[in-house]
Structure formats: C-alpha cells, structure tokens
Symmetry: C2
Subunit: 468 residues, 2 copies
C-alpha cells in the first residue's frame, strides 16, 4: 500500500485508507465513521484534508451524511460507474465492470479465459459418467470428507510425486471447488485488515478482489519476461513484512510470462528468511505449447512456506470446478477449520468424475489435442494483431495475450464500443493493483474458434483504429 | 453479547472480548495484543483484571508472551481440549470436538443429521443421470451463471409461488452449494466485527461458527415449544440494534419446535420496525410427519427484511449440495459480488441433476416414503428413550430429538464413553451460544435403521445409567 501511497496526494491516501476499510468490510453499510476532527487528530493532518477525502467518498457514494450526526458508510448497492478520476474507485468500477463484461453475451468472447466447450470431450463424458454411478452407487447420497475424497487426494499426491518429484502425501492435499475458492479460503484463513501482501503487477483481478475483501493492503511486485526483480521483492519483504506473496509464476495471467527455475528456488529462500508465505497459483501448468514449464515453486519448499494451488478443471471440465491446495499439514488444518464454516466441502460426484477421467488415457490424448488447438488459436489472434503497431510478448502457454495499445486509444472507450459490437476483452487496469496500465488489454484466445478469432479481431482492431 | 456478559465476571468479559476478536480473525496468529496498561486504561478497569484475562488466554494457548516484548496471538493450531472451566474456550473446544465427532467412524451414528443413504433413490439416480448428459451434452464444459442455473432458478421461483404463494421471481433466487455456504455468504456480506446478531438458544452450531468467524457478537433468543417470546426479541432489537436474527423456525435444529404462523407475521413487523434482517434457515420444511408446517416467515416479507435459505439436498441427495437463497434483488446483488470472490458459483452438473429430479414424480414418491421411514425411526428412538427418566418434546418433523438428561450425568463424559463404544451424538453445549445446556444432547434418528437405533440407544442409555 505504501508503494501506492507514494503516488497519491495526502487526501487521496486518507480516501484510500477509509475506502479499503469499507471494501474489506471492516466498516460496513450503515456504520458511523470517525469525525473529521478525530481523524485529523489521529493522523496529525489538517482537517481540510480529511474533509476533502470525505467529500470525495461522498461524491462516489461510499459515504453519506446523516442530518447533523456525522458521516456513515453508504450501501454497497450505491456503487456507480461514472467517476473515473479517482484510481481507487476506478479499480472498483472496473471490478464490477468485469463481472458485467463476463456476463455480457457476446459473439466474440475474448474476455473469459475459458476453454471452448467444443474442445472438450463432452460425448465421452456422457457415456462415461454412468460408469461412475455403477462404481459408486451412493455417490449422490454421500458427503465427501471436508478435505476432499480420499481416493482423489491419494491419486493427486502420487501424481505430484511422479510428475514433479514433490514429496507430497495425501494429508497435505485439500480439494476445493475451483481455484477461486482456494484463493478465498486462504485469504479468509490468513488475512486480517491490518495485513500487507505482495501481488504481481499485472495480476489476476479476482485474486486481488478476494484478498482486498479480507482487508489486505497490496504492494505490487513487477513481473517481467525474465522473471521478478528479486531485490525488489526482498526490499518489500524486509520493509513491509507482508503476510504472503500471491503469485502466478507459470504462464502468468495476464502477462503470460514464466518465472525461470533458478528464481523459484531463490524465492523460497526469501520467503523463509522473511517468514512470508508464498501462495502459488498454478492454473495453466499443462497448457504449454512447446516444452514443459519448470517445476512449481512448491517443489523447493522445505519448511511449509509455499501454499500451492493447482487448478485442473479449467481445461479438463470447467463444469466440475476442481482444484487442489497442497500445503503443510498445519496450514491445511487451519484451512479446514475455516472450510467447515464455508461450505462443508466439495460435492463427491464431481470429485469422482474428475478422478477417473484424470486417470484415464483418454485424458492424456485430450490434453495433447488441446495444446495444439490452443496454439493454433493463439497464432490466429497474433496473425491479426501483427497488422497493428500494438505490442505483446508471445506466450509459450496459457490462454491469454497481454497487449499494449498506443496511448492514443482509450481502452475504456474501446471496451464500450466493442461490447456494442458483441466483442469482449479485459481492460488492463483491472489487472493492476495500482489501477493504471490503462493502455493494456487482455485477449483470451481459448474460447472462440479460428474463424471467430479472425473475424472478431478484425472488428476489434478496426474499432480501435477508428478511435486513434 | 451483553446478555452473556451479565453472567460473567469482569476478567472473563475481557477474556471473551479478546477471544472473540481472535475467533473473528480481527486479531490473527502472530499479531501483537494491546499491553495490560493500555487495555486497563481503555476500559477503566484494574490492571490485575486484564492480567488475569491474559493469563487465562495463555493457559488456553490463545496467547503467548514473546520474551519481554508483550502478548501475541498464538497459532490456532494450538487449541487444546483440556480446559473446560472457561465457557468461551469450552464452546470452541466443543466446536472442534464436533467436527471430530462427525469424523469419527462409528456404528451408531446419532450425531449427524443426515439421511441414511439406503433411504435415497441411488439406483434411480444412476440410471437417470445419463439422461442429463443427453439433455445437456456440454454440462461438464460449462460454468453455471454466478447466481445459479437460470432454468433451476425459474423452476424454484414457480415452486415457491405454487407451494407457498410467495411472489418470487427468478431474479430473487441465488443457488448455493448447500445451506452452510448460504449462511457463510450472508455472514461475509453483512457482518463485521462490531455487529451484534440474534440467534436462537439452542441453535445450529455451524451457523454460530460462521457468524462468529466474521466477528459477530451473539445475543441468544429463547425458543420454546410455543414459539418465541416476542417481547424479549423486541427488547433486544430495541436495545442492541442487532444486524440480523438468524433463525430456524420450522422443525428447529436442535429443539424440533415450529414457530406458529401468527408469530411469523409479527416477527417480520418487528424486523421492519427495528431494521433487523431475518435470516430464515429452512432445511427441514418437507420433512413433516403429520401435517405440513406453516408457510415460511419469508411469505410475510414485503420490504426485503427476510433472507430465506431453503435447503433441499439434505433429504433428496446430500451429495448434490444444493440450497437456494431467496431475497430482495438488492440483497442478492450484494451477495453476488461476494460470491464472485468466493467460488464463482456452483457446478452446473449438480444443479441440472437436482432440477430434473426435483421436478419428477419419482421425487414426490420418494419424499412420501422418506417421511414415513423417518417417523418410524423417530418412534424407535423414542421407544428406547421412554425407558429412562429423560425429557424431550416429540417433534412433528425434522431429523433430531433434543433430550434433557438428569444433571447427575456428565454429557462430556458420556460422549467420551459413547465414542469408545462406537456411538456418537451432539452434546447440547455445542448448540448453546452461552455454552451452557450441559445436560442436553441432540440425537439424530435419520442415519441408522431401526435395528441399529434400538441397539445403539440401548447401549447409550446403559452407559449413561452406569454413570449416574
């Protein structure tokens, strides 16, 4: 947060601190806020500065005044989408915007990093699920254990061991209903409103939301094609004592970069030295185009500082919503005690379907086909992009292109016009903890076929060029 | 909380306030606590009182001292199960205890309010799920909408309208992965650590946990066979301005009582007058033995003060984990913005399976058979209980008996010996916000067959009578 603060005038720092408490639900709708006098005294700043922050919060409908009795937190239903002048509100606007974008039913779907259902073995599944019921006749009558189906945890432990030579046993694995649930679970278990965390810049917007919801302040860590600036990370860990570093080191979302192997080991050493958890979100590992990426950071963890989230269902069967957290048994214990209050565990049926498909030869064939299909779609999108002056680094895996447009193009305006033209994408500012990166966009090539990608990109580009 | 406090000495109030902040994750493992001096000054109490509270917290492994630098929050992993002298820790011990009880693999399963899988239409399901895949070939490749499958929401809106003449439209319905997720979602969306809520006494332990996790202080509301004492509720609403009242008015868990129709309407009027949400958890509605219970409280809601949680999967197919929240569209909006950070929605497959089974004639037949089977099991358990002097009110629906034992019996000791004898039940204190009710136990008759119930109850009773 301090990092962000340096870029903000004093009244905006106050604005942000109050806003982050509201967003973290520390202060809820209807709560009375401290008086201008109190806040000014507490912070040793001028009352007019506090007043200015409160006025800004009122303009943005975060705060209202009740007759003469003071300032109150407004209803979250009053979010509006007009004021883009303030970076913090802007981020929130974008956040809401994003779910709107995802909900928009468009022909050219470049916003969702989702697999085209046509690329998934639907027919195979429908013939095959029946076998699950023959194998587990009571699968719909039974709750799975809180931590996940034991057969599945056991198989995944083996899988991690064979695939990455990770010394994992089933007691270290926790099954979640998708990676987002894993992120939220970790945030709710470990983050309180005084905590600072590290996140990459750019980063995965929904993860930012989950940590902010628990009250975390975010320090952005730059990610480059070559990896991290480890001295930057170390200095942040030293100065701000972050609780954790949420990272996405393999086919990074949105940037597409992959952190080199040597940095992975060094990162674990830093985590250990500064007692900062690393939350490694690994959603695209198997979606490489040429060679396999390096092993997960988790591989280098010897002292329980790395919490590894491996998403599978994204490219196998999104409808199953299956991810696995692998971590130290003590951490798992903490996560389970929260999980028991959150949803009592994932459905047994989806875990069993996943397990048996994941074990099958059919699945290996599917993944290989999928890699080729995705690579072709990526190249199709790049083919159209090459007709522009826009910049991007061609990723060697994953679902997304992270594209920088000329500053003459307003991404907000482009998004609006694209949605009208039934084209969607993710504006870069959504992926930036500092809520800048206003000239970037994330384009997912995983959902539409080549014909649609050609057509959609042609249209998107002509709209953009009409603007500049 | 104030209510609880009256029963506690000063140092225990301090103990509880600190503990509730730890339990609500406002203060997390490793956080530094205020000094004895500061706390004493803040509260205008004697330092020795604070010191006593801190010592108690240290005994219970909640807090530790770092050399001379002060008091710190201990790791939650350090919970232990020995000190039963303190009511607050006791409640926590019980909470953990409970998940242990549920995990215990016993022959006579009287602790879980779950349907015996043998009573569920497993064979039917396995033949039938294949049809789902024929009907929705891409069901495993597709994410359901965040709020739930539209077809399911539409059907449930119709269902509520026909069944309860509730004026519900699909835009008011939100599908969750089971009722526990619904409770947690509401707690995370609306509760902050300064909030006070009302809960029945006794109440559903896991709901208590979910609200406490968000930092709620609980005021217990008595529930009687005749219903609530509405003047008690009004005085609490007036004095403590609770954010919500979580209640379980139909075949109450654990007490089995049902709130009469006239009180349901009056309760909504109170909610409106004092702007207190009512969270109505309705998990057992269809599990009546003689006549249908009164319509949900939600029926009387005209201004959006009631949030209605209807659980279905419990007695249809626990493995599906399907519940529905019905509420004002503005409340749903707030819930959705949190849900998008929690897990991005429930699997489409389980929603489609549920929908088509729920619509089927087969399901109606199943429910009727189930009611009879449950009634027989209840009577079987009561047959054995009648051989004792223990007291209970025979419920007209639901899965549980709430039994009062003579004070000569230590329920904790009974539980221990029962678990050794492969019998489980829920100790009453787990269901009490004040963590008393030490002479009650909750016995579920839904999971074992009559033979097992006869045998298990005979053993349980003889163990108990051996103690008194």
């Amino acid at each position: 947060m301090a990092i962000i603060k340096q870029t903000l005038p004093l009244y905006q720092q106050v604005y942000q601190d109050i806003l982050s408490r509201i967003q973290s639900a520390e202060w809820k709708s209807g709560d009375k806020l401290p008086s201008v006098r109190t806040l000014a005294r507490e912070r040793g700043i001028h009352r007019l500065t506090v007043l200015k922050a409160y006025q800004l919060l009122m303009n943005d409908d975060w705060v209202y005044v009740k007759d003469k009795s003071g300032y109150y937190v407004g209803s979250q239903r009053q979010y509006h989408f007009t004021d883009h002048s303030n970076p913090i509100v802007h981020s929130l606007v974008q956040k809401n915007h994003l779910s709107e974008i995802h909900q928009a039913d468009v022909t050219f779907q470049f916003s969702k990093a989702l697999i085209d259902p046509a690329l998934l073995p639907n027919q195979f599944f429908s013939n095959y699920v029946k076998d699950i019921f023959d194998k587990y006749p009571k699968v719909l009558s039974t709750y799975a254990p809180l931590e996940g189906d034991f057969e599945l945890c056991t198989y995944l432990a083996q899988f991690f061991h064979e695939k990455h030579t990770l010394p994992v046993n089933p007691e270290q694995i926790l099954i979640t209903s998708g990676a987002q649930q894993a992120i939220h679970l970790i945030a709710e278990a470990f983050i309180s409103s005084k905590d600072v965390i590290l996140m990459e810049r750019p980063c995965y917007g929904a993860a930012m939301g989950a940590f902010r919801q628990q009250g975390a302040s975010i320090i952005p860590v730059d990610i480059f094609q070559s990896g991290y600036d480890l001295s930057q990370i170390e200095s942040y860990m030293k100065e701000y004592k972050p609780k954790l570093f949420y990272c996405n080191p393999t086919f990074h979302n949105p940037a597409g970069y992959t952190i080199p192997d040597e940095q992975r080991k060094q990162l674990v050493d830093l985590a250990k030295d500064y007692q900062c958890f690393i939350v490694e979100d690994d959603a695209f590992y198997d979606m490489y185009f040429d060679e396999e990426p390096p092993h997960p950071i988790y591989k280098y963890d010897t002292d329980g500082y790395v919490i590894y989230i491996r998403g599978f269902s994204k490219y196998i069967a999104p409808g199953l919503r299956i991810a696995a957290i692998t971590c130290h048994p003590n951490i798992k214990k903490d996560l389970l005690s929260i999980r028991s209050l959150i949803d009592n565990g994932s459905p047994l049926l989806t875990q069993k379907i996943f397990l048996h498909y994941f074990q099958s030869e059919r699945m290996r064939q599917h993944i290989e086909k999928l890699r080729i299909a995705l690579q072709i779609r990526k190249e199709t999108m790049e083919f159209e992009l090459r007709k522009t002056s826009w910049k991007w680094v061609s990723p060697s895996g994953g679902f997304n292109l992270w594209v920088e447009c000329p500053s003459s193009i307003s991404i907000e305006k482009l998004l609006k016009e694209c949605l009208d033209a039934s084209i969607s994408f993710v504006p870069g500012s959504v992926c930036d903890p500092k809520n800048e990166m206003n000239h970037y966009l994330r384009l997912s090539y995983s959902y539409n076929n080549e014909g649609q990608i050609h057509e959609g990109m042609k249209r998107l580009i002509s709209i953009a060029e009409g603007m500049s």
